[in-house]
Symmetry: C2
DNA sequence: ACATTGAATGAGCAAATACGTATATACTTG
DNA sequence: CAAGTATATACGTATTTGCTCATTCAATGT
């Protein structure tokens, strides 16, 4: 295991699917809201400002992708981040984007 | 800079866009093909087995996202990976997916 | 059993996107 | 300048996906 690259076609599809799951603003908001601990659907709906139906749908997508876990407690369902790599991924992307933006800013300054 | 989470709405959109760029199998194949050095469009078209038009389109998407850089040499255009975080991202995702799949395999075994 | 509350799902619509075919652009060479 | 080659783009189409509204499902309390 872990020969890493190059990935075969099926592996590529799976990786692409994982990125796709993280490619929606509302889902990123949900994930982010869960970084500091589990929350139920009502809380998440209030925090992210979406409709309950839409939040619920996105949560199912994240569950199917094993990004989140859920726990039922009476009428409520609590969600939490299941995959520890998620925050690392977001951190990496943020760092890289910062760098790119700084470079662009530098070029902008240089063109004064 | 680098306060990291929580991200504001605009930052969320940008991060989502970055993930979206990585969420297409053909684009992942292109990126992967470039991990071992720059290649021109004809080579990439042959390696990935798509039409030239489609490859070219995906390359433009990756350029716009600053994932790749390009270099013209006569009639040919050579592309290379510009962002070093990309291979780290793919590595992280692969590692996490391996783990998930192993867990599923373990549960499957446990249910024997 | 019924009403109430929290969460999930079905149907329909609008927007985004990936693809192929055809065409255009850029550069080189005769 | 004409022809040829490598790459990019325009256009039309099919598929996917995200959203809302309405409804259903699940669990609790009366």
């Amino acid at each position: 295991m872990s020969r890493q690259f190059p990935l075969n076609d099926q592996a590529i599809e799976i990786v692409a699917r994982r990125f796709a799951v993280l490619a929606e603003p509302m889902r990123l908001r949900l994930i982010q809201a869960l970084f500091d601990g589990e929350k139920n659907v009502t809380e998440l709906t209030a925090l992210t400002g979406g409709t309950q139906a839409n939040i619920s749908r996105h949560l199912q997508t994240l569950i199917a992708a094993h990004v989140l876990d859920r726990r039922k407690e009476g009428l409520q369902v609590f969600y939490r981040v299941a995959d520890p790599s998620i925050s690392k991924l977001c951190g990496l992307v943020c760092g890289s984007l910062e760098k790119t933006l700084n470079q662009q800013a530098a070029h902008f300054d240089a063109g004064r």
